[in-house]
Symmetry: C2
Subunit: 416 residues, 2 copies
Amino acid sequence: MSNRNHHPIIDEARLWRTIEELGSIGMDASGGVTRLSLSSSELQGRAYIKQLMREAGLDVSEDAAGNIIGRLHGERPQEAVVMTGSHIDTVIHAGRFDGALGVLGGIEALRAIKEHGMSHARTLEVVCFTDEEGVRFGVGYLGSRAMAGDWKPEWLSETDAEGITLAEAMKAAGLQPEKVHSAARSGSDIHAYVELHIEQGRVLEHHQLPVGIASALFGHRWLEISLKGQADHAGTTPMPLRHDALSAAAETIMAVERIALEHGGVATVGTLRMVPGAINVIAGEVIFSVDLRHEDASILDAMALKIEQAAFSHKDSRGVSATVRVTDGDEPVTASGMVMEAIEGASGIADVGAMSMVCGAGHDAVAINALTGIGLILIRSREGISHHPAEWSSPEDCAAGAEVLLHTLVALANGQ
Amino acid sequence: MSNRNHHPIIDEARLWRTIEELGSIGMDASGGVTRLSLSSSELQGRAYIKQLMREAGLDVSEDAAGNIIGRLHGERPQEAVVMTGSHIDTVIHAGRFDGALGVLGGIEALRAIKEHGMSHARTLEVVCFTDEEGVRFGVGYLGSRAMAGDWKPEWLSETDAEGITLAEAMKAAGLQPEKVHSAARSGSDIHAYVELHIEQGRVLEHHQLPVGIASALFGHRWLEISLKGQADHAGTTPMPLRHDALSAAAETIMAVERIALEHGGVATVGTLRMVPGAINVIAGEVIFSVDLRHEDASILDAMALKIEQAAFSHKDSRGVSATVRVTDGDEPVTASGMVMEAIEGASGIADVGAMSMVCGAGHDAVAINALTGIGLILIRSREGISHHPAEWSSPEDCAAGAEVLLHTLVALANGQ
């Protein structure tokens, strides 16, 4: 926090202690944290969260999807609530901040609001959502999608690496998979949702600012492009007689980069496979992925189209043909203007340096957007590292984010 | 053969029958031929070759390295011999022509010379060299290098997939590995060497000609290039903050192609590996091979240098650093002017359409070049396919090549 005139309400040391305590659950000798959803370590983490909510003086409940809800009743309990939240499940060998900060920061914010007797007309809720990461059963946002009424019954049959179904894991955790639809909330019951999360990128570090205010979350398209040429002998095939699938792929990869820059989005070729893949054989086929992201769905589609055209352009020039398949995608989410304004105002009150930015990762807010207007408070990640034991945000930045969250919640609870 | 006025001396049907007979040895149900060096199928092939040489009226012997030599004594037996040859070992699941054509065409040429009572002052030899492919023990040109005096004793300890050493395999075949040095010949004993081989490329097919006369064999350099950037999240890392190793690799691959075209050589990136290789992670490292070939050693070195410079150029532009390692290489071989002229003259006598070209694949001629001037007669390969059951050259083209070989041998045998 820069040159703070504001007297902080968040207890930075207490927040940091809870990050350390939750981080120790599921931590291996090398410092990696693994709390796969509904695993024994994650269940231990959930017990910790419930206990922490109780200590914070919150009214604690759990819905049929396993979402843990800590409630701080407002002066006008009949009005739609203001909600914050995130998740405590992790990928394998993860860090201590992804998800955890949003839950712990939310609890700390509600606890501090209560302790300081801050007025809030609407009821405040902090939610620990079930299985955001989707690593164990292959489907993510389970809890937030259940709350949004987007649950699909077939998910219950999805299995983990050991063949255990989601339904079995839920039952073993004391949940009631057959009643999971009861977790659905009505949009009219939720005035707004705001989530605190680490950035998982290097933009804030680059700008030397602790906090980012998301104007949108990227939508994405995943493409699989196969370029087919001819596998020839590297020695006996002169350059003009070649149909080299890798040269065509290299041209396409350069085009992908150029198209992302021209459209103000991001695009990544993260996997590439050569067939046959021998030192002295010209590539007969190259298959690669493209991960495209943009905050505007129509621009996203335009980018995908241009990349497709680039892939098809090698037919005449190189005799290399293309197949393009869309393997995955989701639509961009625009942050609520009301929530963004509340966050901006809160940053001012908290005297925290903040910038507007687009969020490139997915969070529970994406699912909750189906119910209500959402906003995201991002905090600086060291070197942008995430999903790794080296994931790190400083105690000061965590507290700054929680302080902004607190004032945002209060403003939304007292606003129209 | 085009518009043939020449009366052929080669027996096309007999040559084709021997190609079919040898091709049936080691052939599996799907038509693939596997005769790994000194395996039971290759030993069966060697017995077939010895028998065929005897039927052709040649004086048959075998040296300590297992090279089978068929000799047709000339009118001046004290003079240096004229040699032809190739090999009958194959890669796994190969075709019927690679190597085999040179041995069978050589035997047919000597047989026809003898049957037609053609005068040849020098003695003619056709050699079936041991293990050209190098697939079984990881070292190739074993027989031709033994004959050239380039044998390395440590090769005897090389093992095959089952742990059998080359020495053991040689002994099992009745050879004497301890005496392999006795296979070395003196350069002064060999006037010239000419090898008949399938092109294994598409140049002759492209030019619609049956025969190519090699002016040189490409030398090669193999490079391994590693480009190191930074593995970042595909969603949260804006384009300007990236150090994408694959974008740098794509630029380098385009440069490799351009450099090959500018220098009149060939260059191929046949393998490429991404680290970490996940759809939503920017490549932190990309490792790829470059196979460079040219007929001029100094140009080959210049190409390698330019590619290295291209790999290093990303440090400033992208923050991607490079490591370049030379993993293999050999020097180009220039064909003997005398042998090339003899082949050109023979093509005229045989009325076979022929063009001068560079040979892009390696053959026993490379090793024998250490002893004497060499030449190569290449024949058209259908679609350039080789090392595959679909490898094919027509009976007419095989006979045309053997006819050119025959007249080349006679010219060299009677020349200065």
